[in-house]
């Protein structure tokens, strides 16, 4: 299995950005202060040169294999498959070092940082997963590391703060604005304007100004390249559909990229629907947002009538972002991918279901993909029979989410035994999917 360098940024596919970073001539771009343009140009050049350099690609491949543990398995979830009447394959990114796909992105960016001769990295983080991944890569590559994290999030995610500190990173709580992920990005950008000569900004998702959406996609696209090859090897067919959760969208674009030109493959992104899109408390940016500019890119944004960013809501901190990667906006506008909201409740049901059918506790982020994809799989099973194949990106493991799960399901008190409601989830899911199958 090899890392396949894309031809990104050179406009060879209609789904790629042009050399100025615009997808479909509209989405993305670089709406940034002039002070950062030289750094972004330098980064663009270094990334393009690196991806064309066989030595860099080999190095990245080696680090991913030996340190992160890729390629991740493509696993046939048999009980889940039986439940929906179609073949459900899980791309096990949860088994990577640090427990999520995000290690791919930070190892790529840290390797590039070394190549560019910079000595310090900064990162933003919401729940702390990208911060932990960045601190990990910084430790391994011997780089100074500062992570900006909303003050609200540092209190919610004290364990991840401690992990970053143990790994040697400095964690800075951000009090400005809404004191969450978007404000952490603002603060990291403010740091970068002042430190750009020796500092690289390890952006955590496939969003932001050019080249980040394309570069982060390139570092994550191994997910889809591997899955496509594994599916062909193991089953002799391409999948009928691929599915992933979408916050900023790095795991999703990492999976989708390999399948964009496979016209028979449906592409599904599942957005955080929070309490339900109709309540206004959600983070379903593509489904319910409007085109605008946030953090340097034109993309769908949750905003008010004056263009002020609206606070998002999701039970999953990793998806709780009022923007989205601009390539997803383009894939939605071009009709190549479909983006559908999944509520907090649906995601938590899926978390319990996967735990109880497959013995895998997914990240709540990934549980959004499970919830949405099971409906897709049920439909495809009816249309095409039990060999219909759906690949779901299991982008991360759920250990970090146990606090939320304890609260949501009322777990943790051994005297009470297994929670009755949770037992019911499995039965309900089976009934519901069975009913759908009969309709």
């Amino acid at each position: 299995m090899s890392v396949q360098p894309s031809t990104t940024g050179r406009g060879t596919s209609r789904y790629d950005a042009d050399e100025r970073g615009y997808f479909g001539q509209t989405w993305g771009g670089r709406f940034m202060p002039e002070a950062l343009v030289a750094a972004l140009d330098e980064l663009t050049e270094a990334w393009q040169e690196a991806m064309a350099d066989a030595a860099f690609v080999a190095d990245f491949e080696r680090v991913l294999r030996d340190y992160a543990g890729t390629p991740s398995r493509l696993y046939h979830a048999e009980r889940l498959s039986e439940l929906v009447g179609a073949r459900v394959l899980l791309k096990r990114e949860d088994l990577n070092h640090t427990g999520a796909h995000k290690i791919r992105n930070v190892l790529g960016q840290a390797l590039l940082t070394k190549r560019m001769g910079k000595t310090r990295v900064i990162a933003e983080t919401g729940a702390g997963q990208h911060g932990v991944a960045s601190a990990t890569a910084a430790a391994w590559f011997d780089l100074d590391c500062t992570v900006y994290m909303g003050a609200v999030d540092t209190r919610r995610q004290a364990l991840n703060v401690a992990r970053m500190q143990l790994l040697g990173a400095k964690v800075v709580p951000v009090e400005s604005g809404s004191a969450t992920l978007k404000d952490a990005i603002n603060e990291a950008l403010r740091d970068w304007v002042a430190s750009v000569d020796h500092t690289a900004y390890l952006f955590g998702t496939a969003a932001g100004p050019h080249p980040f959406p394309s570069m982060v996609r390139d570092f994550c696209r191994g997910i889809g390249d591997e899955a496509r090859e594994q599916c062909l090897e193991q089953y002799g067919v391409l999948p009928d559909a691929v599915a992933a959760c979408v916050g900023g969208g790095s795991n999703a674009i990492g999976l989708f990229t390999a399948f964009l030109e496979d016209e028979g493959v449906e592409i599904h992104g599942f957005e955080p629907g929070g309490d339900g899109v109709e309540t206004g408390r959600h983070a379903a940016t593509i489904h319910a947002g409007e085109a605008g500019v946030l953090h340097g890119a034109r993309t769908y944004v949750l905003q008010d009538d004056d263009g002020q960013t609206v606070e998002s809501h999701s039970i999953s901190a990793g998806l709780d972002y009022p923007g989205v990667g601009p390539q997803h906006s383009w894939l939605a506008a071009a009709g190549r991918a479909t983006y559908t909201p999944v509520t907090d409740a649906q995601a938590m049901d899926a978390m319990a279901l996967l735990s109880r059918t497959e013995g895998i506790i997914p990240a709540i982020e990934s549980a959004h993909a499970i919830a949405g994809a099971l409906d897709v799989a049920t439909r495809l099973g009816q249309e095409k029979g039990p060999d219909a194949t759906v690949i779901i990106n299991l982008s991360g493991r759920g250990d970090k989410d146990m606090g939320t799960a304890i609260e949501w399901f009322g777990l943790g008190d051994a005297d009470l035994g297994p929670d009755a409601d949770l037992e019911q989830v499995e039965a309900d899911a089976a009934t519901e999917l069975d009913t759908e199958a009969q309709q």
């Binding site: 771009g29 709406f31 940034m32 202060p33 002070a35 403010r190 004056d306 960013t309």
Partner: protein, 267 residues
Amino acid sequence: MTSTSTAFATARAEGRAALIGYLPAGYPSVDGSIEAMKVMVEAGCDAIEIGLPYSDPVMDGPTIQAAAQAALDGGVRTSDVMRVVAEVAATDVPTLVMTYWNPVERYGVERFAADLAAAGGAGLITPDITPDHGAEWIAAADEHGLDKVFLVAPSSTDDRIAMTAHESRGFVYAAAVMGVTGARDATSDLAGPLVDRVRSAGDVPVAVGIGVSNGDQAAEVAGFADGVIVGSAFVRCLLDHEGDLPAGLDALRSLTTDLAEGVRRAR
């Protein structure tokens, strides 16, 4: 409307640099911000930059962030900013709006330009739009005869400085510190060379934003630039007297007087 270039022409005729003062609209209130800007005009600012408060101001330091956030919390709208422009422009001092891009795009670029011109505004300063990604704004500004003030930074290449000087109208904003807005104790040795590089690229005036907070610093910057931009120090006057607008206005008046005297004693 009055183009900002008239303020530079007047200052140049008097053998001095222009003083450009910034405050966000809507702090401490919409009417309070109008009053404050009028005080700055009376006490010697040659041009006014009105900040349009935005939820994600990546180029601003803590002082301006705090005032802009308070203005947003107070419910300031883009339409209020247009009213502030109209009131301040009525003093005949060139009046610009400094804004991040999304509020303009949301309002409608063409509509924003039309309404700004109708309110008597001179143009826009756009900290997160560079000319190479600003075609829509450039077209609208040209259509309505508005100033297009783009920024340069010490990290800008000569090619980009040439492009920016060529595309700017009114003046070029030299952000002469690598960092966010905020008052600083020392002026930067990056500023002089940056101004020289812009001057050799075109004959548009160059104003420097560098965290100036007193007359001595203003005099120093006025020694090599066409204009001195002051923001955080003005905002600080109002923040330091929160809840007591008259005291804030007194502080603004004496700071403006000090700065106006500074830009006159440089050369």
